[in-house]
Symmetry: C2
Subunit: 453 residues, 2 copies
Amino acid sequence: MAEAVRHDKTARQLRLLSDALDSGRLGPVKRLVNTLSPAEIGNLLESLPPAKRTVVWGLVDPEDDGEVLVHVGDEVRESLLAEMDPDEIVAAVEDLDIDDLADLAEDLPDTVIDEVLKSMDRENRERLEQVLSYPEDTAGRLMNPDVVTVRADTTVDVVLRYLRLRGELPEHTDHLYVVSRRHQYLGRIALASLLTCEPTDPINRLIDDEQPAIDVDESDDEVARQFSDHDWLSAPVVDDGNVLLGRITIDDVVDIIRDRAEHQALGAAGLDEDEDLFSPIRRAMRRRLIWLTINLGTAFLAASVVGQFEMTIEKIVALAVLMPIVAGMGGNAGTQVLALMIRGLALGQVGSSNAGVLLWKEVRLALLNGLSLGLLLGVIVWFWFGDPKLSAVIATALTLNLLFAATAGVLVPLTLKRLGFDPALASSIFLTTVTDVLGFFTFLGLATLILVR
Amino acid sequence: MAEAVRHDKTARQLRLLSDALDSGRLGPVKRLVNTLSPAEIGNLLESLPPAKRTVVWGLVDPEDDGEVLVHVGDEVRESLLAEMDPDEIVAAVEDLDIDDLADLAEDLPDTVIDEVLKSMDRENRERLEQVLSYPEDTAGRLMNPDVVTVRADTTVDVVLRYLRLRGELPEHTDHLYVVSRRHQYLGRIALASLLTCEPTDPINRLIDDEQPAIDVDESDDEVARQFSDHDWLSAPVVDDGNVLLGRITIDDVVDIIRDRAEHQALGAAGLDEDEDLFSPIRRAMRRRLIWLTINLGTAFLAASVVGQFEMTIEKIVALAVLMPIVAGMGGNAGTQVLALMIRGLALGQVGSSNAGVLLWKEVRLALLNGLSLGLLLGVIVWFWFGDPKLSAVIATALTLNLLFAATAGVLVPLTLKRLGFDPALASSIFLTTVTDVLGFFTFLGLATLILVR
């Protein structure tokens, strides 16, 4: 039910906009679009088929263009950029924050990046170049170098005067960072504590040095974990020598968390999280065919197992009727184990220290479930085909296949992870191959042994 | 690769802890555990089998007990609470923030809640009772009533003096809220702007009234959407009469986003996001059996379709060998469409206004993929069985089943959503039922028409 209520607002906007577009009157469309935040506009653009998307993109206030580009997936971004000439792109992106600009940089033509760099003042140019010098998916790329720093050997009074002179603080500033003469990170001071302390207090009495700084090379996943484990809203980023380079704010971390979840959900079906709902058919076809061809290969593997038992099936056709049940139930049971394992691995909760205990728990569970379901299945098959031996064969085969499924459900993701692959993406294919192949083999093999001679 | 690097720190801690536990020396375990944040301790406890979990829980600094309870899933929380006597529970939770306490309240024995309420001062008691009076999964439950308010008809100077007198601000305070005489929400003032303005400025010149307040009845999903669409760090919560009730901070929103992603990933396999990795075997068994029994039912449906064609299979056993390929490939192709649809629905990007265009795109894509894969499959089958007619039958059946899969992939989640169900949870069962039943029917039906007579 929760899902049904969710995002009703977005869906409503989409419908309104779509109706207005269909009616051809662009005035209302333009007004509607420009009441939205850039993220909402991005969301709407992603939901529109190419032709409508082009029309609406042309109606977005040029001032919002840059922020909208930041908020859409790679594929949609490409389609939007294709509609703009270089001057428009430069105008759209030059006022973005450094971290957003760095995020976009991959997708921008080199000439545009050169133009943007030229249009910046020296300080910002150097900052952008610095951020771009760090690899993607690291803290260095996420950080914004625009931070307010103060020195430890001063008083609150002086800092307050400095802030008043400085005027506006960078967006989402909740702490000032205290640095040494050589710009090394010493700790931070909450804006809240500046407001509640006495002006004559020395700064070093307010310093909070409990929160460790983030290393610039840290992976963005690790950054996300630390933020959510410690309920941080922002964190300083330092280099090897503890020199303060910038800060990461939670709004960017939220984007990582969402991306990661989408990556897992779509990746498990062989899709990219940046996949456009309306991606050009040729591109979509290529991506899906790769995945389906791999699956076709594993399906042949299973079919060749069945092929070994053609003689048996010829004699007892009921086996052909029942064999998909054994294989399919193994796949379903294994998928449950897999879902738990994938989450456990993602949270770092599963590893060599508890894999054995987990496997043992899942095997016991599979045995109990297998016996229960096997009994149920056996009774139904007995009624259907009137053959107690067939019924015993399928009950045994089902139980065995659930045991195989549990074992594969635990071991496949662990093995993939150890080999350096992403278990969330590839586990499911391996698992169903195991449950299909062993399911068919066990059922038809037992049938050959017990029913045929 | 990203996944492989992720959370190495957690996995390392887990291994260290596990080794220390195995060695039986509890001193090092205790020291190790108490260097961790409550969320990290929670994560570790979730990764431990019951016996070790009990030992480690006993070693956690009682001061952290409450925060740890907040950071674990429902099932694990239950197992931890079972180890505590009422006095310990009261001591653990009475100092929690109101919003965290409200979050725990469901799982606490009534006697404990009464004790906690008694131990609170009147203001906090009323606040807790108020928060608990709102339904779960709404903004009212998420909010913390502890906010700092100021009146509009004053100056910065006065506010600064008030803050200094007040001392510490509630955690994660980034704005003060401006309210009317009747406590109605008028707007907010960033701490940053208090620090950069002139002390003589009137307060009403600093008020930012651009951010709309959140309605106390809003669903938590909608709250999460607004936060991420607008990059908010906090937001005021008001009632119908615009009276300020509290504020929601982004750290709680991050928890919602994570929960939602887990809910989708585990829910699709018939599991609960609060499922304990080591849940008691009887409970785990019950939950999984329900799901597997439903799947057994759909498997029988598919088997009964195959049963209609026993005569055909008896004549051409190769059909039994090949039929799982047709059904399975339909399932795989449909799963890809489903993954895109589920994400689109979750983001509000898919609705009645574009469902038609999407269906048309997916059907075209399925036709192209079906013809390509059908050709490949046909050639292989021709080589394998040397029968061009069989090869034509399976190529046609595969193409048709991919078309059915695309149609079901688009329509099943839309229909479930319209009926008020969560499409992320139930779509996959319906989809594979469609692709199995129609896959078998098309393949075996065509074979009967073309190959048998």
